[in-house]
């Protein structure tokens, strides 16, 4: 009998720090091979602790973690060899040249020097760092430092890549090119676990998602299923002409007038955007542009995590 092998399998993972803080309260999580998985949660929810345990930077209190079937308790070297990690904080020697940081990481993983140099050149070119290769890392901009950490994490061709806030502090143009690169890596077969505060990023990139809050997994499902749970969406509409009085739209909550040419409308899941446009048409209102008030996942995320907070408050 063969058992299904996950890229990551976490079972009953607990972590209590020396100061008594219970960061993880027995989480169970599986990530399929080839998945692009989002691990989301508010600050202090336990995401970084969880990633720290998987990457052997944090000691677990109890529970088990397997990376491609290799337990970090019994086969740590094998588990580590499958893993690449891009942490939230910069963690390289800022006085070392860029190319040396990446090549050395290859060396730590046992990649022979010649191959490590070839790989380094490849990833530095891919990530737009080639012309900066001889600079000391401290001379790079914030975005370049993030890309350097991605190049470093990929040098040994990991099967599981953990990206902890990889685009934090990166401008939108660069962020989009990084998304493209990450997508390409995923298409090539690398399983990716992403934590991010840019929920638009998670919605766009990830197939499955887990939301962690106060050390427990409160949602673990596909992105599609999660977004189905959204009962309404709020849109900002920019109108062609000014409106002089409050609007009443049949089947919709009265729109909030932001200014004479901008309104905010909540569209329940029972209604389509066409219904809204028809209603506006009745009032001879022409919509010139529109946008989501917040990202859809962001809306859900706030709902889910605030529900948790209310539950805890009522129990407490």
């Amino acid at each position: 009998m063969t058992t299904h092998m996950y890229a990551l399998e976490i079972s009953q993972l607990h972590k209590t720090y020396a100061n008594g803080l219970q960061a993880l309260k027995g989480i169970d999580l599986t990530v399929e091979q080839g998945d692009f998985f989002a691990l989301l949660g508010p600050n202090g929810a336990g995401k970084s602790t969880c990633i720290g345990i998987i990457s052997s930077l944090v000691n677990k209190t109890s529970g088990s973690v397997k990376v491609f079937g290799h337990s970090i308790d019994d086969e740590l070297i094998k588990a580590k060899s499958k893993l690449g990690s891009v942490p939230q904080e910069f963690n390289f020697n800022t006085f070392e040249p860029v190319h040396e940081i990446v090549t050395n990481q290859g060396g730590f993983y046992g990649v022979p020097a010649k191959i490590a140099r070839q790989q380094t050149n490849h990833f530095l070119k891919e990530l737009g760092l080639w012309k900066h290769r001889n600079l000391q890392a401290r001379e790079l901009s914030g975005g370049m430092k993030r890309r350097l950490m991605i190049a470093r994490a990929l040098i040994h061709k990991p099967r599981l890549l953990i990206l902890d806030e990889p685009t934090a502090g990166v401008d939108i143009e660069l962020r989009r090119s990084m998304w493209q690169f990450m997508d390409q890596i995923n298409q090539q077969g690398t399983t990716i676990i992403l934590t991010t505060h840019y929920l638009e990023e998670a919605e766009q990139m990830c197939h499955n998602v887990a939301i962690i809050d106060e050390g427990a997994i409160i949602k673990n499902t596909s992105m599609k299923a999660l977004l189905k749970g959204l009962h309404s969406e709020t849109f900002i509409l920019y109108l062609q002409d000014e409106i002089s009085q409050p609007l009443a739209l049949e089947g919709f909550v009265s729109p909030l007038v932001i200014d004479s040419q901008t309104i905010e409308v909540e569209v329940p899941e029972t209604h389509s955007l066409n219904d809204l446009i028809q209603q506006l048409d009745k009032h001879h209102i022409i919509v010139s542009r529109m946008r989501n008030k917040v990202n859809r996942l962001e809306e859900l995320f706030i709902t889910i995590t605030s529900k948790q907070e209310i539950m805890h408050d009522s129990v407490g």
Binding site: S56, N93, F108, G110
Partner: protein, 258 residues
């Protein structure tokens, strides 16, 4: 590629990085000990040493030379590992190795190789400096090289323990200032323990640095207050103890894993 071959690559990478680290800043790591020892030779060897006369049948400057070289080896091998390991912890790039599939013994040996290389390099540089003040003569080269290697090995391990426990840059300098320097000065660099009263001679035997300085002096000058076998035995015992302590601390993740 076998797992052992991968470990060999990892070891070479850590060792090369450690050696590059101190050799890139040679003005800060190699030159200062040469200047310091030069001053010792001028002040204690020539100016004061002439008044002292002979010690153990040789001029005072010849007597202190092996001890001064040994002092440089001890402080530099220690300083290299403690500062490098603590620096890696402080800036979090120790994590580069922590997440990699490297057994702790490889990390330990990589750092120790850096410490030994700096200790031996400074030893050679300081020996060359001494040639301005004394004639070059080595009684037993194998003893000189062997003792220099073992001593720098031992103090690299000690530096690693300090680096593991250090939580601030103050902790990096406390041990060298308040423990290592006094022990070195009282370890027979500037005097033969035969000059001390019997009680203080016995007390001096507790100081492990006495064994290193004396066996080193035996290699250079052919005279020692301590039997060579005893001295080597003491150094090896300390190496074994500190090696075991380092491995235990690294396996536990002391100072580097929460």
């Amino acid at each position: 590629m076998t797992q052992w071959a991968k470990y060999w690559v990892a070891y070479q990478t850590i060792a090369r990085r450690e050696i590059l680290r101190f050799s890139r800043i040679w003005v800060q790591t190699i030159i200062p000990p040469m200047v310091m020892v030069g001053l010792y030779f001028i002040i204690f060897g020539n100016l004061i040493g002439r008044k002292i006369g002979e010690m153990d049948g040789m001029s005072y400057v010849d007597f202190i030379m092996p001890g001064l070289v040994m002092m440089s080896i001890i402080t530099n091998s220690y300083a290299n590992v403690v500062s490098s390991f603590y620096g890696a912890k402080y800036s979090h790039y120790i994590e580069e190795m922590q997440i990699a599939p490297i057994p702790n013994i490889i990390i330990l040996l990589g750092y120790v190789t850096g410490g030994i290389t700096r200790g031996m390099s400074v030893g050679v540089a300081v020996t060359l400096t001494s040639l301005f003040f004394t004639d070059f003569s080595i009684h037993a080269p194998a003893i000189v090289i062997g003792v220099a290697f073992l001593t720098s090995f031992l103090f690299s391990l000690a530096g690693l323990i300090n680096g593991i426990f250090a939580k601030s840059f103050d902790h990096v300098t406390i041990v060298p200032t308040f423990v290592l320097t006094p022990l070195t000065y009282l370890g027979g660099i500037f005097y033969s323990i035969k000059l001390l009263p019997e009680f203080w001679q016995q007390i001096s035997l507790i100081n492990p640095i006495l064994y290193m300085v004396n066996s080193f002096r035996l290699g250079f000058r052919g005279v020692s207050d301590i039997e060579l076998a005893t001295a080597i035995g003491v150094i090896l015992v300390f190496i074994l103890i500190l090696f075991a302590v380092c491995m235990t601390l690294l396996d536990r993740g002391t100072g580097i894993r929460h």
